[in-house]
């Protein structure tokens, strides 16, 4: 038996579809048409809603994850960031944050304590005086901002890997997660291999002076193998963890590994 036609005899199918499209709400219609003509290169480039659609975002997020893996693969734990003579230091070294210098955290060094959490043997908090007694080293390296600019600075402090050893951290864990005193609660995860890099430093001094407020008093984590936003300032706690806890900028879309 022939299939029963639901169409009214004498009505042109194509005209019917055309008419029904016209009754769709405008946005649906645009999407319907964009979906149909999705060779889309030009539609994409005109910057209309196709670009901001969640499917494009999801794809970009996937590629960014892939790029994390590629960067972890490329990362050589023994490759040192180039160092420079003192004459190469950028003066003045720029202050950079998502707020003005006037709004930068004002930490009282006497009250401040570094909290240590997570997969570590000794979870005691550290005062600034205690931290200052640890052996320190200096480095003059290039700070590269995610925005593209770079500046050479001089940082002095304790290699993070020495501190992690001291507190009995489980260095097989995936991340060291830093939390900061910045308004809106800055935080950032650092993969363990980068945390153990010989140049990754708990920084207490800039240009041989106590770290000024602009550069993250009382403590900054200097990671010359990472972009600037992965060098947290005004650090108040660190947690050794296997969980990816996200970060202030990472959650907004900056690539999480962001290695140099």
């Amino acid at each position: 038996m022939a299939k029963r036609s639901f169409l009214i005899p004498g009505v042109d199918k194509r005209l019917l579809i055309k008419d029904s499209i016209k009754t769709m709400p405008d946005v649906t219609r645009r999407r319907f048409i964009a979906g149909g003509a999705s060779l889309g290169a030009l539609t994409l480039l005109t910057g209309c809603d196709v670009v901001d659609s969640s499917s494009a975002d999801a794809l970009l997020a996937k590629v960014s994850k892939f790029n994390d893996a590629v960067q972890a693969f490329i990362f050589n734990p023994d490759a040192l960031a180039p160092t420079f003579p003192e004459s190469a230091i950028t003066k003045p070294f720029p202050f950079n944050a998502y707020y003005d210098l006037d709004d930068a955290p004002e930490v009282d060094g006497k009250d401040w304590k570094l909290e240590v959490r997570g997969l570590v043997d000794n979870k005691k908090s550290w005062t600034l005086d205690e931290l200052y007694k640890l052996p320190q080293v200096s480095q003059i390296t290039r700070h590269i901002c995610v925005e593209g600019w770079s500046a050479i600075g001089s940082w002095t402090g304790t290699p993070l890997r020495d501190f992690l050893k001291l507190i009995g951290a489980d260095t097989r864990a995936k991340y060291v997660w830093f939390q900061c005193a910045d308004k809106d609660g800055y935080n950032s995860p650092l993969d363990m291999r980068s945390a153990l890099h010989p140049q990754t430093q708990m920084t207490f001094k800039y240009a041989n002076e106590i770290l000024p407020r602009a550069y993250g008093f009382p403590m900054k984590i200097r990671v010359p193998t990472k972009l600037g936003f992965k060098n947290p300032k005004y650090v108040v706690s660190m947690e050794v963890t296997n969980d990816y806890k996200g970060g202030y900028w990472e959650d907004q879309g900056y690539n999480s590994f962001s290695g140099s």
Binding site: Q71, C145, V146, G253
Partner: protein, 209 residues
């Protein structure tokens, strides 16, 4: 555009010489797509910290903000690099580069530039590139290699330190990257104008003949 609608009968009746083989056409358009994504997202990134006293208009940037621009840039780079590498390998392996782009002689270039500027450059045989084309196409391949090398170097200035050092250091690599982009934009303008002036060359890049 009427020349685009060649009927099947016409094509089969006079089997025209293939001017652009399929691999060239596919890689050309993939490259065009990837390059435009790279340029528009690159302008977004540039605007976050301009090298010069100007910014690119927001309407011509991709990603909405720096983070979005970076996501596009570091996604489209794979398409650009893989396609570009495949193009270089195939171009050398098939002998196409040697056959189509060489030789390039100063006198030949001078002669053809003069002819082109006075609209006397012939386009009877599209299978043979004139000296203006040879210089532009060979030049843009070199610029393409440079922009990828500076880009990868800036992406990994520690892991691939030798690569940024080829261009001075990180800040100088940034300038080289910018001027390569500017050259590609200038090429793009000239390339599109010339293709529109000789529409059959555009047709050849679409349907091959």
């Amino acid at each position: 555009m009427s020349s685009l609608t060649v009927s099947d009968e016409q094509v089969s009746a006079t089997p025209a010489k293939v001017i652009q083989p399929a691999w060239v056409r596919i890689m050309h358009w993939v490259n065009a797509f990837a390059m435009i994504l790279m340029i528009l997202s690159g302008w977004q990134i540039y605007n976050a910290s301009p090298l010069f006293g100007f910014s690119f208009p927001r309407e011509y940037t991709l990603g909405g903000w720096l983070g979005g621009g970076l996501l596009w840039h570091f996604a489209a780079m794979w398409l650009l690099m893989i396609n570009g590498l495949a193009y270089l390998v195939t171009g050398f392996a098939t002998g196409r580069f040697a056959k189509k782009l060489l030789p390039i002689t100063p006198s030949g270039v001078l002669h053809d530039v003069r002819a082109a500027l006075t609209f006397k450059l012939g386009h009877a045989d599209l299978t043979v590139y004139n000296y203006v084309q040879r210089v532009l196409y060979a030049g843009i391949i070199v610029v393409g290699v440079l922009i990828v090398l500076t880009g990868v170097g800036m992406w990994k200035p520690v892991q691939l330190h030798w690569l940024v050092m080829l261009f001075g250091d990180y800040p100088t690599a940034r300038y080289v990257h910018f001027f390569c982009m500017a050259s590609i934009c200038a090429f793009l303008v000239i390339h599109v104008i010339l293709a529109l002036l000789v529409p059959k060359s555009l047709r050849a890049m679409i349907i091959g003949r």
